[in-house]
Symmetry: C2
Subunit: 253 residues, 2 copies
């Protein structure tokens, strides 16, 4: 995974990458408040460098800065989840439609990715499975052949992953989604793009409502444990996006 050119990245960027990874892994859970000095010392860098790194993360939406009050790992609201899935639907469906003359190499990557996905599920390796799931969707975005859209999509997925670290893996079976992905791939190579977008839309709607349920339970669950400054009427019991979701029924099988 190393590039042949020399590493040549600034320390601040490396620190940012380190933090980003830890946030997306769930090691730093949403709501965790971060203190500059301990963080800087833990990585052996100065406070200024750490501040630059934190600035990067905050512009990516992974941490929230409250001036003079500190920084905390961002926490997704239901509105955030809804927005993010709106973005996903829009970009991924457009990407499918842009696959009329798909890059053969991309199709190959999609196929091998799918195989690895299935293998990970068979091995009960949920972490790898989720990664392959997200990678599949990221590859789809490549059909757009637009670096800006790809970066934006990636940034958005990053925010989403912060919400996904909350889902209890024991109550959620990532392998469940393999058949949908296989179907998407088959429709894609069969050039049935319209139908492919329909399946994709339902897949995303399904995914959204499931995440919303988990998130809603979570917000209602530890409202006392959460000492953050957002004790508003946020933990609505009613699943907010349920009305917008076209189909909550399981898609596959």
């Amino acid at each position: 995974m190393e590039r042949s050119p020399i590493h040549r990245v600034s320390v601040a960027d490396q620190v940012a990458s380190n933090l980003r990874e830890r946030v997306l892994n769930g090691e730093l859970r949403p709501g965790t408040s971060l203190h500059e000095i301990p963080l800087a010392e833990s990585l052996g860098v100065s406070r200024n460098t750490m501040r630059e790194a934190v600035r990067i993360l905050s512009l990516e939406g992974l941490v929230k800065r409250n001036i003079h009050r500190g920084i905390a790992v961002a926490q997704l609201s239901l509105k955030d989840v809804h927005e993010i899935y709106h973005v996903r639907r829009l970009l991924e469906m457009q990407a499918i439609l842009a696959a009329k003359t798909p890059d053969p190499d991309l199709l190959r990557q999609l196929r091998t990715g799918l195989e690895q996905y299935e293998k990970a599920v068979r091995a009960r390796d949920w972490v790898a499975a989720v990664n392959h799931d997200l990678r599949f969707h990221r590859l789809i975005i490549r059909f757009l052949k637009n670096d800006r859209l790809e970066d934006f999509y990636q940034k958005t997925i990053g925010e989403l992953r912060m919400g996904m670290v909350l889902v209890d893996r024991r109550h959620d079976d990532p392998g469940m989604l393999v058949p949908v992905h296989r179907r998407l791939y088959q429709l894609l190579i069969a050039k049935k793009l319209r139908e492919c977008t329909e399946i994709l839309a339902r897949h995303l709607d399904d995914s959204e409502s499931r995440l919303c349920r988990v998130l809603d339970d979570h917000l209602a669950g530890n409202s006392s444990a959460n000492h953050g400054p957002e004790a508003k009427a946020r933990s609505v019991r009613k699943v907010r996006s349920a009305g917008k979701v076209r189909s909550v029924a399981r898609v596959h099988d």
Copy 2:
């Protein structure tokens, strides 16, 4: 334009805003190399604060950092322009299609904005005219009701404006575009959304090819004056995106 809550913004953010404005105004032209110490002293802030501000701008794509080599105001390539217009077409057309049940307040803003646009053109105030042009499109994006998409659009338009500061205002008539915008507005309130997107697509294609022409001339023109580190075979004479543009003919009148 001041919010009622107290100013409470960090100095670094204010410095970033200052630089951003100057870049988008064209006061700091693309390719200009920026030096931290003079910049910091000119605004009366420390070098660290200036570095934070520059970090912000670089993540917005307005300046490019070359490690140990300095920073420079970013310069759009033809590929960048093509990508940006791809983004615009995608988002703006989807926004139009999302205007089936439009917010009345938004429609009103669109109308008054259009009137101010026309007034600015009659007053030969090209700067205001261009601003009203861009504002019209930004309002359209609001139909999507999605902060993330709106932010991304705004960031992308920011990059585009950096390319637009190169166009020679004497050879370009911003008033020319008023009729198209009026037409878009009329189709929008008439709920002829499909037709509206068609006009919009042609408008954007037209705008793209015109900007590409200007940019291409510019890149070819001062290849000697440009001491930047990108002396590649970048100044292709052939307008790269001409093949993709559906219609170069004037849209209005």
